[in-house]
Symmetry: C2
Subunit: 205 residues, 2 copies
């Protein structure tokens, strides 16, 4: 048998290269040749692990979504597990952390956000590319809604709130603030302050 390499690892390595290029120059400028150079391999090697660019992009978007989701899930886990009230931090401060994970506050998250935005633009034309992201989005929404409901029962958030709508509102707001930051009309500090303000307004008196 011949040389055996970990395909998944290689694909991750290539996806990370795409992420770095995108962070610097945008996804449009991520050509297969540039990707190869950034990954330190040849064009042929890239082709070996991805049959087409479309397949590569599909992997990149899935990988990026997983990265973001994983960080948030880690936060959920740290909150106290399967829904009991044993968490050590408040729901409000957790949601603030969640927001900071989603907003483009550093180079890494800026690159991720750029990938996500770029695929958002292509979503209408190529729905198959973004399917995994839609799942992640639904999952996140449900979890946030659950969390809000639980915090209401615990007396941390106002009882008259509609958990489902508040979840949509909060996540949409974070998404919008992320766009604002990328666009250059809002700086990260202002964005986080707005999140803090919004969450304070949801807190029980």
């Amino acid at each position: 048998m011949p040389k055996k390499v970990d395909h998944d690892e290689r694909r991750r390595h290539i996806a990370e290269a795409v992420l770095r290029i995108t962070g610097r120059h945008g996804l449009d400028h991520a050509t297969l040749r540039d990707i190869a150079v950034e990954a330190g391999i040849s064009l042929g090697a890239v082709q070996h692990y991805f049959r087409s660019k479309d397949e590569l992009l599909q992997h990149v978007i899935a990988h990026t979504g997983e990265q973001v989701t994983a960080r948030i899930m880690a936060g959920f886990a740290g909150l106290g597990g399967t829904g009991d009230t044993g968490g050590t931090i408040s729901v409000g401060s957790f949601l603030r952390v969640m927001a900071s994970e989603m907003l483009p506050l550093d180079a890494r998250r800026r690159a991720e956000r750029r990938v996500l935005q770029a695929f958002g633009v292509r979503a209408a034309d190529a729905p198959h590319l973004t399917e995994p992201l839609r799942e992640g989005n639904d999952w996140l929404h449900d979890r946030v809604a659950e969390l809000i409901g639980q915090a209401q029962r615990d007396g941390e958030l106002r009882p008259e709130l509609h958990a489902g709508h508040e979840s949509i509102t909060l996540l949409a707001m974070i998404e919008g603030l992320a766009s604002d930051i990328m666009f250059g009309v809002r700086d990260p500090g202002q964005a986080m302050e707005s999140v803090r303000y919004h969450l304070d307004r949801l807190a029980a008196r």
Copy 2:
């Protein structure tokens, strides 16, 4: 002197063609040749009115921004002019209308939103393209904040709100909902319902 053509009109015509193509297939697929066909002219004619594609895109983004802003400004004008309380509709319902103007609820607004998103992605690389949009954004934010303050004084909105933050929150939320709709995770009806819910939560008891 030779034939005289209204340049501005022609450029608008071409920009509208780009808008239609973008609405159907995305800005990436708006090639100069396709644009010429869609506008019913030749490639040479397009080149005659725009020296380069970059110049064309700059015009398209400015044109699109103006279209959106114009519709919202018309709404502000109808509200009662320079800030007096003579408006005939409530601030709440006006903000709802504003949201419906900004959300991609029909083909026209979907196309506009696609253009805006596409340029948002390029903003980091080509800030000069999006400069006019940033102005419009600042203007809109200030106006909404003013409006909220005024509505508080009129007793329509809760007095404890921070007008500036609420303006940021509301506009970010609308932007996020727009992204959700384009992405396919939210339908227009849900989005408008969330806007309505959010605005209700701002209303005085």
